[in-house]
Symmetry: C3
Amino acid sequence: MNEQLLFNLVDLAGTFAFAISGATAARRCNLDLFGILAIAFITACGGGIARDLCIGAIPPAGLSDWRYLFTAIVAALLTIVAYPWVERLTYPVRLFDAMGLGLFAVYGAHKALLFGHNAEVAILLGMITAVGGGMARDVLLARVSIVLQKEIYALAAFAGAALAVIGEYYRWPAVWATWLPILFCFGLRFLSLHYHWNLPRFGRKQES
Amino acid sequence: MNEQLLFNLVDLAGTFAFAISGATAARRCNLDLFGILAIAFITACGGGIARDLCIGAIPPAGLSDWRYLFTAIVAALLTIVAYPWVERLTYPVRLFDAMGLGLFAVYGAHKALLFGHNAEVAILLGMITAVGGGMARDVLLARVSIVLQKEIYALAAFAGAALAVIGEYYRWPAVWATWLPILFCFGLRFLSLHYHWNLPRFGRKQES
Amino acid sequence: MNEQLLFNLVDLAGTFAFAISGATAARRCNLDLFGILAIAFITACGGGIARDLCIGAIPPAGLSDWRYLFTAIVAALLTIVAYPWVERLTYPVRLFDAMGLGLFAVYGAHKALLFGHNAEVAILLGMITAVGGGMARDVLLARVSIVLQKEIYALAAFAGAALAVIGEYYRWPAVWATWLPILFCFGLRFLSLHYHWNLPRFGRKQES
């Protein structure tokens, strides 16, 4: 029970951090009140909604569970009324974001397996749960997503989802199967931020 | 029966107005014949298709009911062959668009309830039915949607969908539960256009 | 049996060509390793995934069949390590792309009919199977898709899908019903490339 509570807390903390990142980006693009709320919600819940559509979990939890909508709205309003304060929160928000990344990836993979799908579906949809919202945010803001351009973000989500599927196949104890992949993804993301790791690029510079 | 006929007429008039707005935008971006047809259809039917995917109404009505495709194609061809005439039609098109907004929001919310989903799903998907097509149009035209930036558009759809759900819960008579929310959304949208109402923004200007 | 093998070969060759076009575009936009892999996969499988969501084929084959993911990754890695070579392959890649266009359109239409949907759904989703991935690629790269702007691409897919539905309705022998529409779409696309055919535009130039 305590474990479930912790899981729920991390889930909502991740939702909150994702929504903050959406609301901040929307505010910078000078969107109006509705735009900020919408982008915050889509950043937080878009990945999970895409996952639920692909595994046949109708209606998507992001639309039917009021806690996600509520958390996203609170995060968006906070970004509006206390922007300078939110800007100074960069560090904890990044921490929550990295925790959310891990939890979303692992939860997404578990849910896909629970619905009877194979390992490939689980890993891909775990990753989409974690990074899909951020990509939808950038598509709506008409820009190429940073997820596709630099840092170790989707790769950390992939690693978390893959580890979750491995843990499920080898029947690790539930606590391990849940928290080890989350911590691994979190750690990888955190280290990559700290040491400014990037994946290689192969674009124009190499050719010139 | 008369009421059903009126409903269908407003539905197709809204589809027509949405398709006109899509075709006009596509033509301005210098898309080719297919591009104009595709954007007109997506603007008119994209929101309903997203709703149907989320509530499990397979196949989406926008894809299976020829009347929507036909209406969108007629609107697109009209925009092509009689562009100066369509441009002079701005006022009636805006009127139809506002009617379509109300009807789509209310019909989307009703359909979600009919499929057994809760109030939150119904309100969110009613709003998405009404504004999703316009947002898809802007995503495909690689620009930030005006829906997210100014005017009272999504908020009017939200109000219509919410009122429809309230009417359903308190078992208003069918005519009231259908037309009152539509008229409310229409009125709100119409007044906001007339008086140039906007939602607040909190972007760069405030900080400088 | 031989026919099935040929079908699978063309299917994977088309997937490969679509993935090459995605990876090339991603590399030109200076995306990182993950970005190139993701865009290659989405270009190759995005259309089929959209189709499967719309017809209720859960999970989408693009997510559950490892051969598509594998083919897309091989194509992306090849684009990375042997870019000058891939650039010189323009002609065969265009050939494969045109073959893939035809096969995806026809296979998409067939699958929609197989799931019990009507002719309109089959034709629209056949076309979406063929062009949806390319449009998703351009949305993620924040640009207006070339599919909407010039050349005969979606129209060829439409013709292939429509012919496949006609063949099904008139109960043509299976080999004809499969390969004639594919060849027709391929031929139309190929001729349009060779003779630089475009659909008409009606944009700014006409007005000035």
